[in-house]
């Protein structure tokens, strides 16, 4: 192959991935030869840091407790579940019909649309989550997602939770 074509192919792969990522973070392909941006800013005089925290867990004696990360797989991979968590672990929405044709049309649909899961697959997932909750000594009937808005005062090192939104999924 001509050298120029080799570089042209490389350029298409490089620029393609970058353009998609710039359009939206959700469009970032894998693999794409890009590094994370993180272009947020902070006021130098700010003495308070405001951030949103998301935790998953269950109830123990009527109180929310985080699920143990090493139980829910392990610490490293725990962070990976952002998209799955935001999609409520795939447990909500319509059930996929049990018999699905694996024809080309179905595959293309699956490629372009959000995945749907059968009742059986959802049951398996529920049992899996319930088992992890049990192992964390938490109630296995509901999985909770806690969204909290927190202020951290730098000087005093005090964390002040401004608001907490607790949502749950029945298992």
């Amino acid at each position: 192959m001509n050298r120029i074509y080799r570089y042209a192919i490389a350029a298409v792969i490089l620029i393609g991935g970058f353009v998609l990522r710039e359009r939206s973070l959700n469009l970032e392909p894998y693999p794409a030869v890009v590094f994370p941006v993180g272009s947020y800013k902070k006021h130098v005089q700010d003495s308070v840091i405001n951030y949103n925290g998301k935790d998953i867990g269950g109830m123990s004696n009527g109180e929310f407790k985080k699920i143990k990360e090493d139980v829910f797989l392990n610490h490293e991979v725990f962070k990976r579940f952002r998209r799955a968590r935001d999609h409520k672990w795939g447990l909500m929405g319509k059930d996929k019909p049990i018999k699905e044709s694996l024809g080309f049309k179905q595959k293309m649909k699956r490629l372009l649309l959000k995945p749907t899961w059968s009742k059986e697959e959802k049951e398996t997932a529920k049992q899996w989550i319930a088992d992890k909750l049990k192992k964390s000594n938490l109630g296995p009937d509901k999985l909770y997602l806690r969204n909290s808005n927190v202020n951290y005062v730098i000087k005093t090192e005090v964390r002040d939770t401004l608001s907490v939104n607790l949502s749950s999924i029945d298992l």
Binding site: R3, E28, P31, A32, Y40, Y51, D86
Partner: protein, 360 residues
């Protein structure tokens, strides 16, 4: 037009070219690095329920309708480690590098199918770049058939282009917001605050940032953006300039690790290809009459490889020397690794080693 493009590419390839023998050392380094520092696993994915599976829009994982079975991940892990072992010891190195790189990207696409994408692609880009070179001609149990030097130079050129472009992709987004000439706001500061106070990454020198004056923190914003955006320029300017840029990149990663405790460990092998070539040539001279050192090193790597293969087969949970990366001395090890690359680069630059490098 074609002539101008060819002249441009000639220049790029001259600037990024390295000695073939040193590529063989980089190949062994890459293999040992994957086996000891960055072993990859995918069998854990099969444990998860299908409903967690949300691959990104464009990804090899998207071709699947759910999480594949355990045997699938076992197979890709086995193929990957067999490839790593083969290219490390130098048996069908080129094929092993290519297949290993592709299999790893494929496996990682499943690991990132739950939401978070890690930017550790350069570990596999290093495999793919070396796959199109003559790195399997030396330090190999079974020497590869040679490929044309033209192809080798192009592979190295594309590898260098990938590094410069990836850094550009990070700097581009920052440039619109960080180059604001406003001393009251800081981008690096935001990174630091989130890292130090929210994620509680307070190791190494991170505390020092709290002692920095505002102007120094603001200066870091400009330095980071200018550094990330200018890789493509350094790439074209000259051989030395490209190494200077990579030296700064390694220093940048070292500083990131020291101050923000963020480690870009996966980038080490690709930097090593371009930066450590003079060191490899010196090492080659030293090892010429001391083959026992080569044998000891290969022996150690072979033991590590056997442990990793046994781990994949489920015969042991040990990862051999990888325990060092998770032990109390891991920070010391990683800082030493980055710092030694910076030091070697500086020495080579001052002694003009990159200019003197013998190229085929």
């Amino acid at each position: 037009m074609k002539k101008a493009i060819n002249q441009f590419l000639n220049r790029l390839e001259y600037n990024t070219n390295v000695n073939t023998k040193s590529l063989s050392y980089s190949r062994v380094f890459l293999g040992a690095y994957i086996l000891i520092i960055m072993p990859l696993h995918w069998q854990w994915i099969a444990e998860l329920p299908n409903t967690f599976f949300f691959p990104v829009v464009i990804s090899p994982a998207k071709l699947f309708t759910g999480i594949p079975d355990q045997w699938f991940f076992f197979l890709i892990e086995l193929v990957f480690y067999l490839c790593v072992v083969l290219f490390t010891i130098g048996v069908y190195s080129r094929y092993a590098l290519f297949i290993g790189g592709i299999v790893a990207i494929f496996g990682q696409s499943f690991a990132f199918a739950f939401g978070k994408i890690d930017h550790n692609l350069f570990l596999f880009i290093a495999c793919l770049v070396l796959a199109f070179t003559n790195c399997g001609r030396y330090l190999a149990l079974r020497k590869d058939k040679p490929v044309s030097l033209k192809l080798q130079r192009t592979a190295l050129g594309i590898g260098a282009l990938c590094i410069a472009f990836a850094l550009f992709s990070a700097g581009y987004g920052k440039s619109w917001k960080w180059l604001d000439f406003d001393m009251t706001e800081g981008g690096f500061l935001r990174w630091f605050y989130t890292s130090y106070f929210v994620k509680e990454r307070q190791d190494l020198l991170s505390y020092w940032i709290t002692l920095f004056p505002a102007w120094a923190v603001e200066l870091m914003d400009y330095t980071a953006v200018i550094f990330e955006l200018t890789g493509l320029i350094f790439l074209i300017v000259g051989r030395k300039a490209w190494r200077v840029y990579l030296g700064i990149a390694v220093f940048f990663h070292l500083a990131n690790y020291l101050f923000l405790n963020i480690n870009f460990t996966a980038n080490v092998p690709i930097y090593v290809i371009f930066l450590l070539s003079p060191l490899w040539m010196e090492l080659d001279k030293v090892l010429k009459n001391r083959t026992w050192i080569k044998k000891v090193v290969f022996g150690l790597i072979a033991i590590q490889a056997i442990i990793m293969l046994a781990n994949v087969l489920g015969l042991t949970s040990s990862e051999g020397l990888n325990f060092l990366v998770h032990s109390g001395i891991s920070e010391f090890l990683l800082v030493s690794l980055w710092a030694s690359i910076v030091c070697v680069t500086l020495i080579c630059l001052f002694q003009g080693r990159y200019k003197k490098e013998k190229l085929e």
